[in-house]
């Protein structure tokens, strides 16, 4: 939510805040907005971790969780003061191009627009990049070690605080990138957006198996499919019911997710 607001503010500052259905896409502005949102969300997440979670690292489980709810409330209110209570229009800056009819000459109900391509073109490299970071870099290795056993990794000489900060930075950066995609795809944003998005992200991650990038991608894909089918067959108002029911069902029957390995006390 704050990411979309960061994009919106950047675009407005650059003079593209109200553009609707433009013919030439200002790629440089979109790039800047993407960068701004990624940096903003990344830093914000690091800040939140520093202030609200790090002091609680050794507290019982309930404490960081409650503190996280508090942080989310604070964020929602920052959004409320930033852009007001009503939904805001997000400029429609991508070319209106349907590959199915204009490129292949097929006039079908199925459409594959430039927007769809844009989301794929941005999301897939990001996912591959994330998988690479986690699998191949020193930091990624440290991250996995910390996830498995914090105390042991501390004894192995890993700077746990730095690793966790980096993880939060990474999470924030990806959320920032997703927010530009969301804004450009849906052309609207509202201050309560994040609640839904966060729950869906969590559902997707759990569905795929926590701690597994390809699982998360698969989970996101299945979740998207399910919510689209729910909307088509039961109507838009049932979408969240479907999503949350799915979450409950997975956690009950297969808490490790589709591709996950057993993770002890997590579920």
């Amino acid at each position: 939510m704050l990411g979309t607001f960061a994009c919106l503010t950047t675009l407005t500052l650059l003079g593209f805040g109200t553009e609707v259905g433009t013919t030439s896409t200002p790629w440089w502005a979109l790039g800047l907005a993407l960068l701004a949102a990624m940096i903003f969300c990344g830093l914000l997440n690091v800040l939140a971790e520093r202030v609200a979670y790090r002091p609680l690292r050794r507290a019982p489980r309930l404490a960081p969780l409650i503190s996280a709810i508090g942080v989310s409330f604070i964020f929602v209110n920052i959004g409320l003061f930033w852009q007001g209570p009503t939904p805001r229009r997000f400029p429609d800056l991508l070319p209106q191009y349907d590959f199915m009819s204009q490129f292949f000459g097929l006039h079908t109900l199925v459409r594959f627009t430039f927007k769809d391509l844009f989301v794929l073109a941005l999301a897939i490299p990001l996912m591959l990049g994330l998988a690479w970071v986690i699998r191949n870099t020193r930091m990624g290795k440290a991250m996995r070690a910390v996830a498995q056993d914090t105390e042991m990794s501390l004894q192995m000489g890993i700077d746990v605080n730095r690793v966790i900060s980096f993880t939060f930075l990474l999470g924030g950066v990806l959320a920032g990138a997703a927010s530009l995609m969301y804004g450009l795809y849906n052309n609207n944003t509202v201050f309560t957006l994040g609640f839904d998005a966060g729950l869906k992200a969590f559902t997707a991650a759990v569905l795929g198996g926590i701690g597994n990038v390809s699982g998360a991608a698969l989970g996101g894909f299945v979740l998207g499919l399910l919510s689209a089918l729910t909307v088509t067959y039961f109507g838009g108002q049932w979408e969240n019911v479907g999503v949350f029911s799915l979450l409950v069902i997975i956690l009950v029957f297969k808490p490790t997710g589709l591709l996950g390995q057993a993770l002890g006390d997590r579920a």
């Binding site: 002091p55 050794r58 309930l62 709810i69 729950l199 049932w238 949350f244 808490p255 057993a262 997590r266």
Partner: protein, 382 residues
Amino acid sequence: MKRPTLGWWYTTTGGARSRRVWVTVGGIALALAFPIIDGFLGLGWEAKAVPIALFIILALGLNVVVGFAGLLDLGYAAFFAIGAYSMAFLTSPQSPIPWVAQGNQVNFFLAMFISAGVAAVFGVILGAPTLRLRGDYLAIVTLGFGEIVPLVIKNTPEVTKGTQGMNPIGYPQIPGVVFGASPIPWYYLIVAVLLLSVVITSRLRISRIGRAWAAMREDEVAAASMGINLVTTKLFAFSLGASFSGFAGTIWASYLQVIAPEQFRFDVSIFVLVMIILGGLGNIGGVIAGGLILGGIDRILFDWISGIVHGVGSAINNDDLRLMDVSRSRQLIFGIALVFMMLVRPEGLFPSARRKAELHAAEELGEPAAEQERAILVEVEE
């Protein structure tokens, strides 16, 4: 009476005991005399006292789940909604049950108990799938439930009248007392339920099941190996918490005379959670204090501040100030309060001694106790 075993943590003696008795008696007297005091001082707070007292009932119920049993429930408002809608189904002429809609409204008090029972059943239904879950996962699933229930109510207008809401709803009939616009009878009804809730929860805390909850909260594996049946213990906490919420829901529905799904959103669950965290998880007196403080801030202080802000706005002719809605920052204040409490005083303002010891165990041991516990759990489950 002297209890031979385990007495050390639930019985106080000497000065502490007599102090507790005085606080209890004083609190009850103040609660009962409140409308008179209010009338005497001309504050006009009776109408505000009704929702505050009602939310304290909710807080007491949630305290059983979160404070006693240690199960973080973020969907507590769902049971509030279920209680309220059961009441509406049983007593409203708009009820989907044909027999009720034809004019055979169920007696309020009977409906109250039936509705609380319905809420308890839902507590078990929603609790059962979460039995294997812990910590964050449990919180998220309960949050999901909390979202599903209002959505389902909203999306089934043929049964629940959807967003339009159900209206009117039956009200209590006691000879000689008129339950209508005046909040005073409602206030006494709620205080009676509140006192009953306090008695029930405080007795439960020191009962066998209460000790089982405490053991489970501190270490599930150890509790299970000491012969505690985790399934029934957890489910009992869920259903009991839900029935309190259901009780509160019935009175709320009847008091407002109209209920709509929007009244039972996530905010309500969080509001109640903040109450018990602020006051002191697990401590009944603390929970009541937290409810009074937060309810007071929400219903009285915010009105007072916006009055001042609007007054200043009119005086200096500033439209921003004159029309500013202070209660819009309510969530912001709650958010800051939650984070701040967790950082500075995670046990709340008036903590129970036991809870405090748990939350500070890590510091005293000089060892990351929580982490250790986690590691042990991993070993056991693998």
